[in-house]
């Protein structure tokens, strides 16, 4: 067309198209530049946000480890406080019981002397002193018992025993408290009641408490103790019932039965005495043995307390130190035929542990806490084996070993070194027969002892 021809021929078209093209490129370029910057700022925004979050996370981590440190400190403090409390209780129990024993003992003694001399007038007053002393002792024992139970300081000692024998024994022990209120005690047990495995001491404690309560709240009445065997939940249970024909309880009193210090109400405490801890302890003890305690009562008619204990109590708790208390029967005394083992160790708890482990292997054990004493005992007793702790502060275990081996009488006795070190060369060079590595285990000790026994 004419315009285009004109434009073409003047070369103008080239410049215009060049201009348009470059503008286009320019705009596109600008756009890309814009996009680039936008993304960069977006990215840096994200990066900034991410590092913010990271910062917060590290702050939190720091706080967490601070809290953890505080927690372990607190936990350690609590463990220390608990240990301190147990030690305090053990100490104070001794401090309380010792003078009380003197009060009870001396008043008993004077009563005996006075009876001999025919001075009967003094007897009632002396009895009062003795009874007050015994009552106080009972309260102290209850408080300490409950405290130990609450802090988990009690372990059960389980053994197999005949139930009928145990209950008959109770009759003698409960006699004074039953007679006091002119009550009668009846014992009943089913023929198949047989034996059970439980902590006999604690079970007696519970039953005596129930009998004592029954008699306390009954006058000129009858107390019945029954034992029977039941099968429930595919295992055997022993059920003990203590029934009385006493004053019974009101509805309000029933609610407070297992509460510490409530003893139904204060007027009962004033009239009947007692600190009101007995039943709480009974409940805890029954629970510890995997059993339960319940009761029924009617005011004016009497009360019945029922305890159910598994015929075979299992004790989940075991003593530390690898010593298993859940033995079936009382420990059999070892025969002397396996010879004497002399333990030389200055640390008391280490000695105790060795004694227990060695006794269980059937040996007699004697201990010494120093080299000199050890040598003297070795000469006096002629043990068949000597165990010697190498690292005793202030005493050189090696020199004790040397002396033992140098002595013509003692040199032949095998010496077993108890050590933390793996290197046995020195020991063997000096004449040790064998080694036991700390911490000493029963298996290790047993193997070594059996190797060297006569």
């Amino acid at each position: 067309m004419q315009t285009i021809d004109l434009l073409e021929s003047s070369g103008f078209l080239n410049e215009v198209s060049l201009l348009i093209l470059s503008s286009l490129f320019f705009v596109v370029g600008l756009y890309h530049l814009y996009l680039y910057f936008h993304r960069t700022t977006e990215l840096s925004e994200q990066t900034r946000k991410t590092s913010e979050v990271n910062e917060k996370l590290s702050e939190l981590n720091l706080k967490l480890s601070e809290v953890n440190t505080k927690l372990s400190e607190r936990s350690r403090e609590l463990a220390e406080a608990s240990l301190a409390k147990s030690q305090f209780l053990a100490h104070i129990s001794h401090e309380l019981r010792t003078p009380l024993n003197a009060i009870i003992g001396y008043s008993e003694m004077i009563q005996e002397e006075v009876e001999e001399k025919g001075l009967d007038d003094f007897i009632p007053d002396l009895k009062k002193i003795r009874e007050a002393g015994k009552h106080l002792l009972g309260v102290i024992n209850d408080i300490l018992d409950l405290s130990k139970i609450e802090s988990g300081d009690i372990s059960l000692y389980l053994e197999q025993f005949k139930i009928s024998t145990m209950i008959e024994d109770l009759r003698t022990t409960a006699a004074p408290v039953i007679e006091k209120n002119n009550n009668k005690l009846e014992i009943r047990f089913a023929e198949n009641v047989g034996t059970m495995r439980a902590d006999i001491r604690r079970l007696r404690q519970v039953l005596l408490n129930l009998l004592s309560n029954a008699s306390k709240f009954t006058e000129n009445g009858t107390i019945i103790i029954e034992a029977s065997r039941e099968n429930a939940d595919q295992s055997d249970w022993i059920v003990f019932r203590v029934l009385d024909t006493g004053i019974g309880m009101t509805e309000e009193q029933k609610l407070k039965v297992f509460q510490a210090f409530s003893q139904a109400d204060t007027s009962a405490t004033r009239k009947f005495g007692g600190a009101g801890l007995g039943l709480v302890i009974c409940k805890r003890l029954c629970q510890m043995m995997g059993g339960s305690i319940t009761f029924e009562s009617q005011q004016g008619k009497g009360s019945t307390f029922l305890i159910r204990i598994p015929a075979s109590v299992s004790d989940v708790r075991k003593e530390t130190g690898g010593f298993d208390l859940a033995a079936d029967a009382a420990y059999q005394r070892s025969s002397a035929t396996d010879g004497i083992v002399l333990v030389i160790d200055d640390d008391r708890s280490a000695r105790d542990l060795m004694v227990r482990m060695i006794s269980r292997e059937g040996f007699r054990v004697v201990t010494a806490w120093g080299g000199e004493e050890g040598l003297r005992l070795a000469r006096d007793l002629g043990p068949s084996i000597i165990t010697l702790d190498v690292f005793m502060p202030g005493i050189d275990g090696w020199s004790v070993l040397k002396e033992l081996k140098a002595d013509p009488d003692l040199g032949k006795i095998p010496v077993i070194m108890v050590t933390m070190e793996e290197d046995k060369t020195k020991g063997f060079l000096l004449g040790a027969s064998d080694f036991v590595l700390k911490p000493v285990t029963r298996e290790q000790l047993s193997a070594v002892l059996n190797k060297y026994k006569k």
Binding site: L100, I104, E112, L137, R201, V355, R356, R364
Partner: protein
């Protein structure tokens, strides 16, 4: 008159028990710690030993172990006296070699019957 060695560190307990036993016709000799006890028993050869467990210097269990290891004293019956009455104590007492065990506070009648049983068994 049967000789009894009483090993007890507490003065009042010692006083009460020795006087009451003397009034029952026993000759009572005293040791106040485990070490003394071992020496005294070897020297005096009593018919029976009453051994308190918590003693200073050397405790009752260790003293018992020593006495039961010595030929001259191993046949003398020992009754452990403990304040604790924890069943673990009974096992420890038997392990150490005690012939019987009683709890404090001492009930004289109960203790006497244990003493008589052990002395009777020895034909004293």
């Amino acid at each position: 008159m049967a000789k009894i060695v009483l090993v007890e560190d507490n003065e009042d307990n010692r006083d009460m028990l020795s006087r009451r036993l003397t009034r029952k016709g026993y000759e009572v000799l005293i040791a106040v710690n485990g070490e003394e006890a071992v020496e005294l028993v070897q020297q005096e050869q009593p018919a029976l030993i009453l051994m308190d467990i918590s003693l200073p210097v050397m405790d009752g269990f260790e003293a018992t172990r020593r006495l039961k290891s010595l030929d001259s004293t191993k046949n003398i019956p020992i009754i452990a006296l403990t304040a604790h009455a924890m069943s673990g104590d009974r096992e420890k007492a038997i392990e150490a070699g005690c012939d019987d065990y009683d709890v404090k506070p001492v009930e004289l009648r109960r203790l006497l019957s244990k003493i008589e049983t052990l002395l009777g068994a020895k034909g004293n």
